[in-house]
């Protein structure tokens, strides 16, 4: 158990810290771009759906990048602790941080008299997991973080400029609905799981 805590500590400090800083930057930028004070039930959706989903991209997409260098990859993979377990730890850290940031932001909006509710938290979380899931899957398939960043951004733009029906991330903004978020959540989780599987095939034992 303590070994896993040590592994968590090292990964937080050396592999995840810049991305956590970027996530915090996003949180600070969001109120600057949008107003988050005294928003009504419809307009709260704007910052929640346009900005916070990128937490998933920032925190999930780079999970596999520390071992992009083959020298590091070989050194780490030959250890007793399975490499995928380390990736799993990073993913869990990312998911926990995403939830904490989203909860914190929604609470802040509530404190600023915006009409948010507890229900917004899972809705926004689903969006973030979905977008982050696309990113981590693209990163695992291509082996490049940049591709992992591009795919979710492309999806975001296409959804924003048109609408992708059941798979839209902007149901709250467009028609005040949260119903379809569970679909995005499931797809996001499947993408994360698929990325682990692909990473296993690609690198563990060829």
């Amino acid at each position: 158990m303590f070994l896993y805590l040590s592994a968590i500590k090292y990964n937080l400090r050396f592999n995840l810290l810049p991305h956590i800083a970027a996530a915090l930057g996003l949180m600070l930028l969001t109120p600057v771009l949008f107003g988050i004070t005294a928003l009504d039930a419809m307009t709260v959706a704007y910052p929640l759906e346009l900005s916070l989903p990128f937490l998933g991209v920032i925190l999930l997409t780079p999970v596999y990048t520390p071992e992009q260098d083959p020298g590091i990859s070989d050194t780490v993979r030959v250890r007793k602790t399975p490499y995928l377990l380390i990736c799993g730890i990073r993913i869990i850290i990312a998911l926990v941080l995403m939830l904490l940031f989203i909860c914190g932001f929604v609470l802040l909006m509530a404190a600023l008299e915006s009409e948010v509710s507890i229900a917004h938290i899972p809705a926004v979380y689903a969006n973030a997991i979905f977008l982050g899931g696309l990113g981590i899957l693209a990163s695992a398939i291509s082996g490049h973080a940049v591709v992992g960043y591009m795919i979710p951004v492309l999806y975001f733009v296409m959804d924003l400029m048109g609408s992708l029906g059941t798979f839209t991330m902007f149901s709250m903004m467009r028609n005040g609905q949260m119903n379809g978020k569970w679909v995005l959540f499931v797809i996001g989780v499947c993408c994360i799981a698929a990325s682990i599987w692909i990473r296993n095939i690609a690198t563990e034992r060829k």
Partner: protein, 431 residues
């Protein structure tokens, strides 16, 4: 030239270019511009509607705008778009009173505090709006209700028709300032928000004839195409740029740095190669669309080069800017931070895609000019000088960023620039 060709081949063979090209074409397809979903047809007399247009008719704008201001004042909740994103504004006590005075100036039969103090107050009726103590009762949340009597709450507002347009504009400027700018009451928004009037058949016909004579039909399509392509070209090119720069790992850069080629030639070759690559799918679509329009309208009726003109003058500067951001920030930081930078710029420019700025007009350093309708040739001609300035400005911005990239690259080559975000090494043992 050889280096440019080699870099171009590198980009074209990369996975990220393939994905970017697919993304560009897919985006155009989903937005209905590739292939085009509508054609330009001559308006027929007696149609139900020919669309609307913004007018500067004071008689139309003033009462609508004043009424809207009153409604927002009553609730003490105003809508503004300071960065293009919707923002709700609530005024504090002192600003509320100032806004109240503006409302008073816009309203008929207002009894000011001075008159109240004098005691010479006419009987309250449903045209009366009293400012100060009395019938204007604030709620706990700061909004106001007009209390006519214990049973009735007055929410009506009667515009003071005696007010002049100049006085009205001055009052609206004050109101907009109180709200932090970007509100419905700024001069640029008012005609668009409150001055919409139907387009007449004659006007529609005149615009159609202008589209035929000036645009040769394809010009209008090319403009709409450029509108949508600008959105994607304002963002996607940053990714191949970041990818290409990051693919030079540490052991590769030290080999590159010692080569004879100047930093200027190296960076320019890379920049031009990236630009060529991202414009390639756009140019291919331009060619295909020209063919489609030739089939629809007849070859003799169209301008076969117009798509390429728009590609060069409208779309290329946007692609240059996003590519340059990718090159500069990646060369400087050796991280994918450029993606975040460009995303923020794109976001602010498109107002989060909300279309708030999608009415016609071009801001000076607007990354993505918008013209989100087919036709409206006269409107285009009206803002064309702004557009030319804007495109030159964006091009210069891109050139500046590329110049900075060359400086940074050259400094790194000479070991003059070492960017470290980590603490200095300390001799310490963890044991």
């Amino acid at each position: 030239m050889t280096l440019y060709r080699k870099e171009l081949l590198r980009v074209l063979k990369s996975t990220i270019f393939f994905l970017a090209a697919v993304g560009i074409i897919l985006f155009a397809n989903t937005q209905g511009v590739f292939p085009p979903h509508s054609t330009i047809t001559k308006p027929l007399p007696g149609a139900e509607s020919y669309g609307t247009k913004a007018s500067d008719n004071p008689d139309l704008i003033m009462p609508e705008a004043a009424e809207s201001l009153f409604v927002q004042y009553s609730a003490n909740q105003y809508i503004a778009y300071p960065n293009g994103f919707i923002k709700y504004v609530r005024l504090n006590q002192s600003d509320r009173e100032k806004m109240g005075e503006i409302i008073a100036a816009l309203s008929e039969d207002v009894i000011s505090e001075d008159v109240q103090e004098s005691g010479d107050i006419p009987a309250a009726n449903d045209k009366t709006l009293q400012i100060g103590e009395g019938s204007l009762q604030p709620n706990d949340d700061g909004s106001f209700q007009i209390i006519k009597s214990e049973e009735e709450i007055l929410t009506g507002f009667h515009f003071n028709t005696a007010i002049t347009w100049e006085h009205f504009l001055a009052l609206m400027v004050q109101a907009d300032d109180l709200l932090g700018g970007g509100s419905d009451f700024s001069e640029k928004w008012m005609s668009h928000r409150f001055g919409q009037i139907p387009v007449t058949y004659d006007e529609a016909l005149a615009d159609y004839e202008l589209t035929v004579s000036y645009d040769k039909l394809t010009g209008a399509h090319a403009r709409l195409f450029s509108d949508y392509m600008g959105i994607i070209l304002g963002l996607l090119p940053v990714f191949p740029a970041v990818f290409l720069c990051l693919s030079d790992r540490k052991n590769i850069t030290s080999m590159l740095y010692t080569r004879r080629i100047s930093s200027t030639r190296f960076i320019l070759a890379r920049f031009l190669a990236l630009l060529t690559a991202v414009m390639l799918p756009v140019l291919i679509m331009c060619a295909v669309l020209t063919g489609i329009h030739a089939a629809d309208y007849g070859l003799g009726n169209i301008d076969i080069l117009v798509y390429f003109k728009y590609a060069f003058f409208w779309m290329l500067p946007t692609a240059m800017a996003s590519t340059a951001v990718g090159l500069f920030f990646t060369t400087l930081t050796n991280t994918p931070a450029a993606i975040a930078v460009q995303l923020v710029w794109w976001f602010v420019d498109t107002a989060g895609g909300s279309g708030v700025y999608s009415f016609f007009g071009v801001r000076p350093l607007q990354l993505i000019p918008r013209h989100n309708t087919l036709g409206e040739t006269q409107t285009f001609l009206d803002y064309l000088p702004d557009l030319i300035q804007n495109r030159i400005g964006i091009t210069l911005t891109a050139v500046l960023l590329v110049t900075f990239t060359i400086f940074v690259y050259n400094a790194k080559r000479r070991g003059l620039l070492y960017v470290s975000v980590f603490k200095r090494d300390k001799v310490q043992s963890a044991v």
